[in-house]
């Protein structure tokens, strides 16, 4: 499977390969490109938002369209861009980091991806018929009030994509529990793997709340139930609770994997072992644990009463402690090290002050009474972009530069990388720093226009200029990708003097079976240990033998297609009962695929030992 071989194959074969793949490395590519596409879309929406707000009472876009824009921006960025890209990175690196040949359920892995993609497409098709317009939170009272089918697309799209995410979480959990290579004990796992593990737990416990909430909303909108219908005794606060019971853990789903990644990057490029490894692991767990107990900090102004507000305020602030442990441990990791600053490291270094500011404002928001002023203003917008862009997006960029060789066998161009970093970094602070003040000066969020002569003009103008800087940075990055694909520097198997197992394979990108022989782990940072002891490579933990591999399958694609069609049926059956055909047809098709899958034996295949020996040279 050398690169030359890939290039010789026809485009059709290439496409078919990706449509049927169950290989975690290829699924990672799919996730990255799917998520990347939606990131551009979400970014474009952000730019439209900023253009609308460049001057007071602007009429670049209409009020209704603006609401669709923010809703789709938030939803797209969180569910269709950030999470899938993160899951892509997990797929690319986690199985390698624990020395496995694949994930526990390769078929399910492919299914997760296709569900995400079709869910995302379904959601975005709503642009042609009227997009959802009740905010990414889609609070029940407004969502029930919203005319047209926008909200229905939101429900169906997220339901499908969410199912994929949930499966992905279970898959990663089973992988990490059952498939660690010999010697890879829990307390020897790289932090990115730990973060994947804990994030998966968060997904497992948070997504069901979203699933149920969307169901309730769907029933209210489509079948006339009364969960949130006040006239029949319904209660819209239930929606808000369920949303944030999901929603707060969700924001940690967005940041914890990158915390893990930064840990790996800092230690690699400081040539130093991670400072306080055990504390880092437990801090991650603690963040996840506390993350379930603070959801009502999004609801301080709902009127839950002082007891609830106080409890949740204290819980919220408590999360600062484990997060602080992490920040200081990263600094201590670099302290005394030999810090090499390349693009991956630049993004990681930029992350520290940016995220700390975001965390700072987070703790300030956690002070319930202060939040009576901040809530639903641009202060909150500033807070979460500081943590999400300054944490998640910076982390994603760091991860892409760090693992690009692992994923694509080439090193991204450093010069362009640095240009992207600096323009994006400056643009980011320009856009979002001023928004803290805008919020306090009386600008609520989700405002289509702000009025003239209210002291908000200059701040908004600066903010918009910042967004242009960010766009420039992103475009340079796109050019970088193309340049690298065409004539980027080829990477060796271990281009960064790595410490963990993903750099211990035969080549970059690794062969499709990952490890010819599973490696034996003798401590934290296994590859580093072997290199320091002069072996230079991992000791195998097993004799060379046949390797069992799963078969590719087109079923995940078809099954997701079934749900996609059923999604349309759900949305439009309220208009015309003929759509029930799509609804039941799609469901039956998907179910048929499921039954086909479960009754058809698929034992995979073996790569014979002889072939592996041949490939050695």
């Amino acid at each position: 499977m050398s690169i030359a071989a890939t290039q010789k194959r026809s485009f059709g074969a290439f496409l078919w390969d990706y449509l049927t793949t169950v290989d975690h490395k290829k699924i990672a590519h799919l996730y990255l490109f799917g998520g990347g596409f939606f990131f551009l879309l979400g970014g474009l929406e952000a730019v439209v938002i900023r253009i609308q707000l460049i001057k007071p009472e602007n009429d670049f876009i209409s009020a209704g369209f603006y609401n669709e824009m923010i809703t789709m921006h938030g939803t797209t960025m969180i569910f269709l861009a950030a999470m899938p890209i993160i899951i892509g990175l997990m797929n690319a690196a986690m199985p390698l980091q624990i020395g496995a040949r694949d994930v526990a359920f390769p078929f399910l892995n492919a299914l997760s991806f296709w569900l995400f993609l079709f869910g995302g497409l379904l959601l975005n098709i709503s642009w042609f018929t009227g997009a959802p317009d009740a905010g990414w939170t889609s609070y029940a009272s407004l969502a029930l009030d919203s005319p047209g089918h926008g909200i229905d697309f939101y429900i169906a799209g997220l339901q499908i994509a969410g199912a994929g995410t949930l499966m992905g979480g279970i898959n990663f959990l089973a992988t990490i529990v059952n498939m660690r290579a010999p010697g890879m004990t829990y307390m020897r796992m790289p932090l990115f793997t730990w973060a994947t593990f804990i994030t998966s737990v968060l997904i497992l416990f948070a997504f069901p709340a979203l699933t149920i909430n969307l169901f309730l909303l769907m029933f209210d909108r489509m079948f006339g139930t009364a969960f949130f219908d006040v006239a029949l005794g319904g209660n819209t606060i239930i929606y808000q609770h369920l949303f944030w019971i999901f929603g707060h853990p969700e924001v940690y789903i967005l940041i914890l994997p990158l915390f893990g990644l930064f840990s790996d990057v800092f230690s690699t490029f400081s040539k130093k072992r991670l400072f306080g490894y055990t504390a880092m692991v437990f801090a991650t767990m603690l963040i996840a644990f506390l993350g379930f107990m603070v959801w009502a900090h999004h609801m301080f102004t709902v009127g839950l009463g002082p007891v609830a507000n106080s409890i949740f305020a204290v819980g919220t602030m408590a999360i600062a402690v484990p997060t602080g442990i992490k920040i200081f441990n990263w600094l201590a990791t670099m302290w005394g090290g030999s810090v090499r600053i390349n693009t991956a490291m630049l993004w990681s270094l930029g992350f520290i002050p940016s995220f700390t500011i975001g965390g700072m404002t987070g703790v300030m928001l956690g002070s319930a009474v202060a939040d009576y002023q901040y809530h639903d203003t641009y202060f909150v917008v500033a807070h979460f972009h500081y943590v999400i862009v300054g944490g998640t997006v910076f982390g994603i960029f760091a991860g892409l530069h760090y693992w690009w060789p692992l994923m694509f066998g080439r090193i991204l161009h450093e010069g362009m990388g640095k240009l992207t970093f600096w323009t994006f970094f400056i643009g980011f602070h320009l856009t979002f720093f001023i928004q803290h003040f805008l919020g306090l000066m009386g600008m609520p969020r989700r405002y289509w226009v702000f009025l003239e002569d209210q002291g908000l003009d200059l701040g908004n103008f600066i903010s918009t200029i910042g967004a242009f800087f960010m766009s420039f940075g992103v475009i340079v990055f796109l050019i970088n990708i193309i340049y690298t694909a065409v004539k980027g520097e080829k990477a060796s198997a271990d281009p960064w003097d790595g410490r963990t197992l993903e750099w211990a394979t035969a080549s970059s990108p690794p062969p499709y079976y990952n490890f010819k022989q599973l490696p034996l782990t003798r401590g934290l940072d296994p590859l580093w240990i072997e290199k320091r002891e002069g072996n230079g490579k991992m000791t195998p933990a097993e004799p060379l033998g046949d390797i069992h591999m799963p078969n590719g399958s087109f079923t995940p694609f078809l099954m997701s297609l079934g749900f996609f069609i059923a999604g349309f049926g759900f949305i439009y059956q309220t208009d015309n009962s003929l759509w029930h055909i799509a609804l039941f047809g799609g469901m039956a098709f998907a179910l048929g695929c499921m039954i086909y899958r479960s009754i058809k034996d698929d034992h995979g295949y073996y790569i014979p030992k002889a072939e592996l020996e041949r490939e050695a040279d």
Binding site: A104, F105, I170, N171, L204, F205, F219, T225, S598
Partner: protein, 207 residues
């Protein structure tokens, strides 16, 4: 990891369902899924508890619920839990026929339960005009109990598919994990039912 190529060993291991990596993965995966299901049902229970008094002038739980039917349903489902334990017992002893028999009984008991549940719903609708549109209480009731019923339905379809598919080929290390995952799932449904009858029916009757 690839120590065992054969799915048809000479001696059945103590835990055939977890003898292969595939089996271990299925086993873990299903348990984790159940962890998620716990939260799923908690959300429905929470919604139900929040809305159970919002009858909007319609019938309330005290008006409608009868204990007799629920008791029979409970017994059916609890017994089906035991029969699926029996099935797993025979699986471990490598007695394929007996395992199938007990799984069949499990499915029948499940169907009995489901039939009674449908009867119950029909009764509420025709007698009291109590539907999922009547009030927030109605919505929450049917959502919770119906969701559980949906799980039962899925379980029955699952086991029937498994039984038909494997009827002719006996027990091996490839299908043992599948039977075992079903059994775990089925117990979990029973666990949920314990809470349903306690929280919805018994507590609803108490007031």
């Amino acid at each position: 990891m690839s120590q065992d190529h054969s799915l048809y060993p000479e001696t059945m291991p103590q835990h055939p369902e977890r003898a292969t990596l595939e089996g271990k993965n299925k086993f873990m995966g299903l348990w984790f899924f159940l962890g998620g299901e716990t939260v799923l049902f908690a959300c429905l229970f929470g919604t139900y508890l929040a809305l159970k008094d919002s009858t909007a002038g319609g019938p309330s739980s005290e008006d409608m619920f009868g204990l007799g039917l629920v008791f029979i349903m409970t017994m059916l489902l609890l017994t089906s839990s035991l029969t699926s334990v029996y099935a797993m017992y025979h699986m471990r002893n490598n007695e394929f026929k007996k395992m199938m028999l007990w799984l069949g009984i499990t499915a029948l008991l499940g169907m009995g339960f489901l039939g009674l549940e449908i009867y119950e719903f029909a009764h509420y609708i025709t007698e009291y005009g109590f539907t999922f549109r009547s009030s927030a209480f109605g919505s929450a009731f049917y959502a919770l109990v119906g969701f559980h019923g949906g799980h039962v339905t899925f379980g029955i379809c699952w086991i029937i598919t498994l039984m038909i598919r494997n009827a002719k080929r006996g027990l091996n290390l490839y299908n043992a994990p599948k039977f075992n995952t079903f059994s775990l799932y089925w117990h979990f449904i029973d666990v949920i039912w314990v809470f349903v009858f306690t929280v919805v029916y018994l507590m609803g009757k108490v007031g």
